[in-house]
C-alpha cells in the first residue's frame, strides 16, 4: 500500500522526473506519426500501383508481340480459369508524342499502350482515373462535347482541390475553337491538293511497306471542325504541369490533336507517325505512369504497326493483363501459368514483381526509421536512469525510515519500479495521444506550418497527393507504447536496486 502512496506522492512532487518523461513522450509521438505517414504512403502507393497494374501480366519478350491473343487466353483459362476474374490483351511499345504549343512542337517520350476499351477496365482501376464521367463508366475514345471534370474527382474533398479552369472548355468546343483559329494558317501552309492529315497516316504506312501500297482512290477531306482522329487517352502529366500554387496548367486539352511516332512491327523497326485526338486524361497520381502512358485503341494500334496477320486477320499482342478473383494469391497463379508458357518467349509476373524494388525500398525505409526513433526512446531511458538515481539519493533517508519501519528491500524496490512504470505509462500515454492527434490533424498542421514559414511543407506538385496519407495500425501503436513502457521500467531497475540495497543505518544517518 505504501508503495502506491509513495510512488504517487513522488510523482506529484518531483516534476523533474516528468521532464525525463517528455523525451519518452516525444519519442513515442514521433514514432507513431512516422509510422502512420509511412504506412499511409506505402499503402497509397501500393494501392495506386495495384490499381494501375493488373494482378498478373503475361508478356511477350518481343516488341512485335505474339499472335493469337484469343488462343492464349483460352489456354490461360484452361490452366487457371477458376482463379481468374478478367483478362484483356494489350499491346505496348515505346513511342514519342508531339504536340503543338503555340508555334513550336513539344516532344515527349511515352509508352504507347493499345487497349481493348471494352475489357481493359475490368482488370484494373483504369476507368476511375479518367476525367470524363462517361469515360469512367465506359471508355469509348470518342471526344465528348464537354463535361470534363474541372476538379480532381479523386481528391478527398473536391471542393478543396484547385480548380482546373481550362477543362471547362475541353471537348468539341475547344476543338472547334482551335480549328477555327488554325484553319487559315493550315491552309496557307499546306499547298492546295496536298494530302490531308488522315491520308498522311495511310501514306506513312504505305511507304513503309511497299506491298501494302494502296493509294486512296478518292481524297477524303478531313474537317477538324467536325471530325476527330482516333482517340487517345494521355497521362495527365504529359501535357500539363503543376504550378507552385497547386493548380494544374494544361498545354494540351481534350480536343487537341497530337502526333505519335512509334516503331513499326517487323525487322528492322521503322518509325511511323500518326495523328490522334486527345479524348481524355489518365490520372493515376503515380507520376511515373502519368508522365508516360498513352492509351489508344488496340485494334487501331495493331493496324498502324502492322501487327495483324494478313492471312488470319488476327492481331498480335504484347501482353495479357489478368485480374484474379478476390482472395487468390497472384504468385500462385503466376507459377501455374509460367509452367505452361515457354519462359524464353513469355514472361508471367505479378504486379508486386513489377514494383518489387520500390515496395521493398519503402518498407526498408520504415524499418530504418523505426530503429533510429527507438534509439531516441532508448536515449530517453538513460535520462530517466540519471534522474532516478538522483531521486534515490535524495530519498535515501526516507528509504532508511521505511526500512526501520519494517519495509522489505523488495518493497522499496517496488516503489521505484512502479514509479518508473508510471512514468512510462504517463509518457507513452501522452505520447500516444499526442501522436494520434498529430496524425489526425497532420494536414492542418502542415498547412499551418506552411503559412508560418512561407514554404509548403507538403507540396502537392511533388507528391501528387492533396493530403498527407496516414494509416494508424493498432498493432504498431501498441508495440510502440509497450516498448516505451518497457524502456522506462528497465531504466528504473538500476536505481531501484540501489535503493533496495541501501543499508538502513547508513540511510538514516544520511543528511
Amino acid at each position: 500500500m505504501y508503495k502506491l502512496i509513495l510512488c504517487l506522492r513522488y510523482l506529484r512532487t518531483r516534476y523533474i522526473a516528468l521532464a525525463s518523461v517528455v523525451s519518452v513522450m516525444l519519442g513515442v509521438a514521433t514514432m507513431i506519426v512516422v509510422n502512420a505517414v509511412m504506412a499511409g504512403f506505402a499503402h497509397e502507393m501500393q494501392d495506386r500501383i495495384h490499381g494501375i497494374l493488373s494482378d498478373l501480366v503475361v508478356e511477350s519478350r518481343s516488341l512485335d508481340g505474339i499472335a493469337d491473343a484469343p488462343g492464349h487466353m483460352a489456354k490461360i483459362r484452361e490452366v487457371a480459369g477458376q482463379y481468374i476474374a478478367g483478362m484483356t490483351p494489350t499491346a505496348n511499345v515505346p513511342a514519342m508524342l508531339g504536340f503543338q504549343v503555340g508555334d513550336q512542337y513539344v516532344n515527349k517520350q511515352i509508352t504507347l499502350i493499345g487497349i481493348d476499351e471494352a475489357t481493359y477496365s475490368s482488370v484494373s482501376d483504369f476507368g476511375q482515373y479518367l476525367q470524363h464521367p462517361e469515360n469512367r463508366k465506359q471508355l469509348d475514345f470518342k471526344l465528348k462535347e464537354q463535361g470534363y471534370d474541372q476538379y480532381d474527382h479523386q481528391a478527398e474533398n473536391p471542393a478543396l482541390a484547385t480548380a482546373r479552369e481550362q477543362m471547362r472548355i475541353a471537348g468539341w468546343k475547344w476543338r472547334r475553337q482551335i480549328s477555327q483559329w488554325r484553319k487559315p494558317i493550315d491552309t496557307t501552309v499546306t499547298p492546295p491538293g496536298a494530302t490531308t492529315p488522315s491520308a498522311e497516316n495511310s501514306n506513312a504506312l504505305a511507304s513503309a511497306d511497299p506491298f501494302l501500297a494502296t493509294t486512296p482512290a478518292t481524297q477524303e477531306v478531313f474537317d477538324p471542325l467536325t471530325e476527330q482522329h482516333t482517340g487517345a487517352v494521355l497521362g495527365i502529366s504529359i501535357g500539363s504541369y503543376r504550378a507552385a500554387s497547386g493548380a494544374d496548367q494544361f498545354l494540351v486539352l481534350p480536343g487537341d490533336d497530337v502526333e505519335i511516332t512509334y516503331p513499326s512491327a517487323g525487322r528492322p523497326p521503322k518509325p511511323l507517325s500518326a495523328k490522334f485526338t486527345v479524348t481524355d486524361f489518365y490520372e493515376s497520381k503515380m507520376n511515373e505512369y502519368d508522365a508516360s502512358f498513352v492509351f489508344v485503341p488496340l485494334a487501331k494500334m495493331q493496324e498502324l504497326r502492322g501487327m495483324i496477320d494478313p492471312i488470319t486477320q488476327v492481331g498480335n499482342f504484347n501482353s495479357i493483363q489478368i485480374k484474379v478473383k478476390p482472395g487468390v494469391d497472384p504468385a500462385m497463379v503466376r507459377d501455374l501459368l509460367q509452367a505452361t508458357f515457354q519462359p524464353e518467349y513469355i514472361v508471367v509476373s505479378t504486379w508486386m514483381d513489377k514494383q518489387g524494388p520500390l515496395l521493398a525500398a519503402v518498407s526498408m525505409e520504415t524499418a530504418v526509421l523505426n530503429v533510429l526513433l527507438f534509439m531516441i526512446i532508448a536515449v530517453a531511458g538513460f535520462g530517466i536512469l540519471a534522474i532516478f538515481f538522483m531521486i534515490v539519493v535524495e530519498k535515501t533517508r526516507d528509504i532508511g525510515i521505511l526500512k526501520s519501519l519494517g519495509a522489505s528491500s523488495r518493497g522499496v524496490m517496488g516503489i521505484f519500479l512502479s514509479y518508473g512504470l508510471t512514468l512510462g505509462v504517463v509518457g507513452s500515454g501522452v505520447g500516444l495521444f499526442g501522436g494520434l492527434l498529430f496524425v489526425k490533424y497532420i494536414n492542418e498542421i502542415a498547412d499551418g506550418l506552411g503559412k508560418l514559414t512561407g514554404q509548403k511543407v507538403f507540396d502537392p506538385s511533388i507528391y501528387y497527393f492533396y493530403r498527407i496519407p496516414t494509416i494508424v495500425e493498432p498493432f504498431t501503436v501498441t508495440w510502440i507504447a509497450l516498448g516505451a513502457m518497457a524502456i522506462a521500467v528497465l531504466a528504473s531497475i538500476l536505481p531501484a536496486w540501489r535503493a533496495a540495497r541501501l543499508h538502513p543505518v547508513s540511510a538514516l544517518r544520511w543528511e
Binding site: 500500500m1 502512496i5 509513495l6 506522492r9 525510515i401 526500512k403 519501519l405 518493497g411
Partner: protein, 253 residues
C-alpha cells in the same frame, strides 16, 4: 575484562520481577573503512525487562546509537547475540527482521525522520500500510484511520492530522514520530536521542509522554541519550563508555 554473564543470569531472579523482554550478550561491532577499523561495541551485555523504561547514557561516539540499531535489528553485530522474548533475533533472515521491526518494535529518532511527502496521519498509518497488502489495507482502512487518529489525539496532535511535517514544529514532529511508532502496538519502543533536537520545554513534553506511555500502557522503552538529566527520568540507567557497559545503576521502578 570481566566475564560475560550468561543469559540465565540476565533472566529474572524471582517471580516478582518481570520477565526479560530484550537481552543482548557479548555484542561486538567494528566499523571498517579501508585499513582503518574503528571498534564501536566491545562486548555489550544488557537485559531489558518488560515494562521497564531504560536509559542508555553515553557520550558521543560511545556506541550507544549503534547498540540501539543492533537491538532494533537495523544492523547486525559482528559477534554476540540479541534475544527478544527468549528468541534469538540477530541472525534472523531479512524478512524476519523486517517483520519484527514492523510488528514488535517502535523506533523514534533524534531527527524525527518523518516522510515529508505525507501528512501526519499518513505518516502514522505508514507502518500499517507496510504491514498490510493493498487489498487488506483497503478493507480495514476506516478502522486503521480511526486508530491512527486516536493515537495522534493521544500524543496531542488531534488538530494537526492533515499537516505535512514541514508545517509542524519540532516537538510536534517528534510526537507524530512517536504516534507512528505506536501504530502497530509494539512491545518495545527504541528511542534514539528523542529530545536531542528539541528545546527544554518541548523535550520535557516528549519525556512526559514517554513516561505516560510507560506508566499507563506498560510500554517497554529503551532510550539512548547523552544527557544524564534526561536519563534520570528512566527507571534504570546504564552507561556506555567506549563500547563497554560501565555500571548498571538502578532506580526503583
Amino acid at each position: 575484562m570481566r566475564p560475560n554473564p550468561t543469559l540465565a543470569e540476565l533472566m529474572p531472579r524471582s517471580a516478582t520481577e518481570r520477565p526479560t523482554l530484550l537481552a543482548c550478550r557479548g555484542l561486538l561491532k567494528t566499523y571498517r573503512k579501508g585499513p582503518v577499523s574503528v571498534p564501536v561495541l566491545q562486548g555489550v551485555d544488557l537485559a531489558v525487562r518488560a515494562g521497564e523504561m531504560l536509559a542508555i547514557i553515553g557520550q558521543s561516539g560511545s556506541g550507544k546509537s549503534t547498540l540501539l540499531h543492533l537491538l532494533g535489528t537495523l544492523d547486525q553485530p559482528d559477534a554476540g547475540e540479541v534475544h527478544f522474548e527468549g528468541h534469538r533475533i540477530d541472525n534472523l533472515p531479512a524478512s524476519g527482521r523486517d517483520l519484527l521491526r514492523n510488528r514488535y518494535f517502535g523506533m523514534i529518532f533524534q531527527a524525527y525522520h518523518l516522510t515529508p511527502e505525507m501528512t501526519a496521519l499518513e505518516n502514522v498509518l505508514l507502518p500499517a500500510m507496510i504491514r498490510y497488502g493493498v487489498f487488506s489495507y483497503w478493507t480495514q482502512a476506516r478502522k486503521l484511520k480511526a486508530q491512527a487518529t486516536a493515537i495522534l489525539e493521544r500524543v496531542g496532535l488531534g488538530k494537526r492530522l492533515h499537516h505535512k511535517p514541514r508545517e509542524l514544529s519540532g516537538g510536534e514532529m517528534q510526537r507524530a514520530a512517536i504516534a507512528r511508532a505506536l501504530m502497530n502496538s509494539p512491545k518495545l519502543l527504541l528511542a534514539d536521542e528523542p529530545t536531542g533536537n528539541l528545546d527544554q520545554a518541548n523535550g520535557e513534553g516528549i519525556l512526559d509522554l514517554l513516561g505516560e506511555l510507560n506508566q499507563q500502557a506498560g510500554l517497554t522503552i529503551v532510550m539512548v541519550t547523552h544527557d544524564s538529566a534526561i536519563a534520570a527520568r528512566a527507571h534504570r540507567t546504564v552507561t556506555l563508555v567506549e563500547g563497554r557497559m560501565q555500571d548498571a545503576g538502578r532506580r526503583a521502578a
